[in-house]
């Protein structure tokens, strides 16, 4: 059964909204909000990091994935942090409802 969850946070200083759809694995994550990312188009690659991960993947691992990617490719997150992204994904999954 496909589930769909949404959550928001302002942990990093700017608003982050996470929309996630998942079953036993994360299918798709969308990160929106009024934060900044440099270079901008790296954000779409960050979203792809979570695809196919188990839906109950630990928050620490989600954060580490983002942090490692940003370090490797010199991506700067302004107003949002890897930890905020990870925590909000977990919150969105916790909020999940069946996607009709």
């Amino acid at each position: 059964m496909v589930m769909f969850g949404v959550a928001e946070s302002k942990e990093g200083g700017k608003l982050l909204r996470v929309k996630v759809d998942y079953d036993s694995r994360i299918n798709n994550v969308k990160l929106t909000g009024d934060f900044f990312v440099h270079p901008e188009d790296e954000m779409f690659k960050v979203e792809k990091l979570f695809e196919r991960l188990p839906f109950d993947e630990k928050e620490e691992k989600l954060a580490l994935l983002v942090r490692s990617y940003c370090t490797k490719y010199n991506v700067q997150l302004i107003g949002v942090t890897p930890e905020a992204i990870a925590a909000t994904i977990r919150k969105a999954i916790a909020n999940g409802e069946a996607d009709e």
Partner: protein, 240 residues
């Protein structure tokens, strides 16, 4: 000051950025939005942020920017927008430092009007704790573009009607809360929009070797192409 519709405004910023990347001069421009418009940040969801039906009803254009940041209501009579476009190397390497360096020119401009303001990281300018200017930056192909608004006047009720805030939540209390967080030029000094523009121009150009210019034919042509092929399109504006 230039006056542009939302799509041409974004097209002009990008066209000048391309020209600068190809060796063109650093450029500062000041402009107003006509029709009034809502712009959203690059990472925002259009339908999350904007009451599209209300915008259509009021003839307010809606456009996605190439810069991050939040949803902004650009009232033709309510604000002055600036864009600064130059090679990245002319600015501090750090993002926050470069915001500060560019915002310092606005702070100097406001000081010319007798308004004391300060930079508030990440990207705001405040007067006595209240926001008077928001700014957004992108760096692409070795060129830094920063644009931002200086609030001259603001109709908070109208802004709320265009941006997606739960209508049940728009109470006098909420409007009062916004009034506590933002200020306008007209809250500080009784000056005209033109006086404000002149003060800001001086803030940006003081001590610099500069001259007034016009868009080149190529820049104008490219801006029109970009307005039509990107900024007016559903694919761009509704990409998220």
């Amino acid at each position: 000051m230039q006056v542009d519709n939302a799509f041409m405004a974004m097209g002009i910023d990008e066209a000048i950025s391309e020209a600068v990347a190809n060796g063109g001069q650093p450029t500062i421009r000041f402009w107003r939005w006509n029709p009034s418009a809502v712009s959203i940040g690059y990472f925002q969801g259009m339908e999350d942020e904007v009451d599209l039906a209300r915008c259509k009803e009021l003839g307010v254009n809606v456009v996605r920017r190439r810069t991050g940041g939040g949803a902004v209501y650009h009232d033709y009579n309510g604000e002055i927008t600036y864009s600064i476009i130059a090679k990245e190397g002319l600015f501090p390497k750090g993002i926050i430092e470069s915001y500060h360096a560019i915002c310092q020119h606005i702070i100097d401009g406001l000081a010319n009007l007798g308004i004391r303001s300060e930079f508030k990281p990440i990207n705001d300018i405040i007067v006595a704790g209240k926001k008077i200017s928001g700014n957004a930056q992108t760096r692409r192909n070795g060129v830094l573009l920063q644009h931002g608004t200086i609030l001259y006047d603001l109709d908070v009720k109208k802004m709320f009607s265009l941006l997606k805030v739960s209508k049940e939540k728009i109470s006098d209390k909420m409007i009062a809360a916004v009034e506590e967080r933002v200020t306008r030029i007209l809250n500080q000094k009784q000056v005209s929009m033109d006086e404000t523009y002149q003060a800001l121009l001086k803030g940006f150009t003081n001590g610099k070797n500069w001259k007034f210019g016009e868009l080149t034919e190529e820049e104008l042509k490219r801006a029109k192409e970009l307005a039509k092929s990107r900024y007016e399109t559903k694919e761009w504006n509704f990409m998220r």
